[in-house]
Amino acid sequence: MKDTEKQLRKGVLDILILKLISEKDMYGYELMKFLEEKSRGYYTLKEGSLYPVLYRLEDSLLIENYPGEATGKRSVPRKYYKITDRGLEAVLMHKKQWDLFVESSNYIIGE
């Protein structure tokens, strides 16, 4: 059962993260915290799960990163992620796919 839940979460993570970045430029840790709070603790990610998703999205040219302002205490500047035009198209497409997925699955599971 745990494995199914893990797979479900993993499958939807790319879509959720892309959606969040489409609403606002965010840095990695901010994304993790935001996802955790907004899902009331359901999506509690660690770096090993978040960053591979971000790398995949970057490799697919759906998001890109840029450095934030350097502050005195940090040895590296924050890395912000922003959505690309291609990413925005993907968000719309994912929304349609998601609606279809939920509706179709609910036909079977929801009864």
Binding site: G48, P52, Y55
Partner: protein
């Protein structure tokens, strides 16, 4: 050791078990460092490394989510460090880079380095770059190079030996060059030579001595003995 060093050490430990290289490796390192800074900022008084979790668990999570297998090969890094550099680093993993006072690996960087590509003060391997000495198939150094092809500022010995001051080899080129084919200010050659002062082999020690002294009248006895050691 300050906290940034602790962070870097922790990240190195995580990265050792993730088989990624180049740009992706640098990206993960930077992201982990950023996360540690965030945790530090948001959780004063707590240790960000403890909050991040065990290094091997984090590596394993990265591997799973990047679709990578476990890292093959052997790696050892001594706990003892000098100037934040491990005393010994042996990295025999594919594409592994060993960095330490004593470094051994496919690519080795260290005071004493041994590897296919070795860079350091004293370097041994296939392609070697030594500030003081290099021994390898192809060897470059500041002081002494020994190898099939040896290049240095000081002295080179090898099939092809080129140096600024002194070279011995099948083909030798230096101020004082000794070889089958020798090019230099003093060229001691067997088959062909080019230079201001030339001595053909076989030659007596005295003949070479005279040529060297004529070209470098101020040369000390120590260096004279050194230069003449093959005779």
């Amino acid at each position: 050791m300050n906290k940034n060093d602790d962070y870097k050490k922790y990240i190195r430990k995580v990265m050792r078990e993730i088989p990624v290289y180049g740009k992706k490796k640098r990206a993960i390192e930077t992201d982990l460092l950023n996360s540690l800074h965030e945790r530090e900022q948001l959780n004063p008084g707590k240790n960000p490394i403890e909050l991040m979790g065990e290094a091997d668990q984090l590596s394993s999570e990265f591997r799973d989510n990047l679709g990578l297998g476990e890292v093959r090969g052997f790696e050892y890094q001594s706990k003892k460090e000098w100037f934040n550099i491990p005393l010994v680093h042996i990295n025999l993993r594919p594409n592994g880079v060993a960095k330490g006072i004593f470094a051994l690996g496919p690519v080795a960087v260290g005071a004493v380095s041994v590897g296919a590509v070795a860079i350091g003060l004293l370097s041994f391997g296939a392609f070697t770059f030594g500030i003081l000495a290099a021994l390898g198939a192809v060897a470059f150094s500041g002081l002494i190079s020994l190898g099939a092809a040896a290049f240095s500022i000081g002295m080179s010995m090898g099939a092809v030996a080129m140096a600024n001051y002194y070279a011995i080899g099948a083909f030798a080129q230096a101020n004082i060059a000794i070889g089958s084919v020798a090019h230099g200010v003093v060229a001691v050659f067997r088959e062909s030579g080019q230079g201001d002062l030339m001595v053909q082999l076989p030659a007596l020690r005295g003949d070479v001595l005279m040529a060297v002294k004529a070209a470098y009248p101020g040369i000390s006895q120590f260096w004279l003995n050194f230069v003449l050691f093959p005779f």
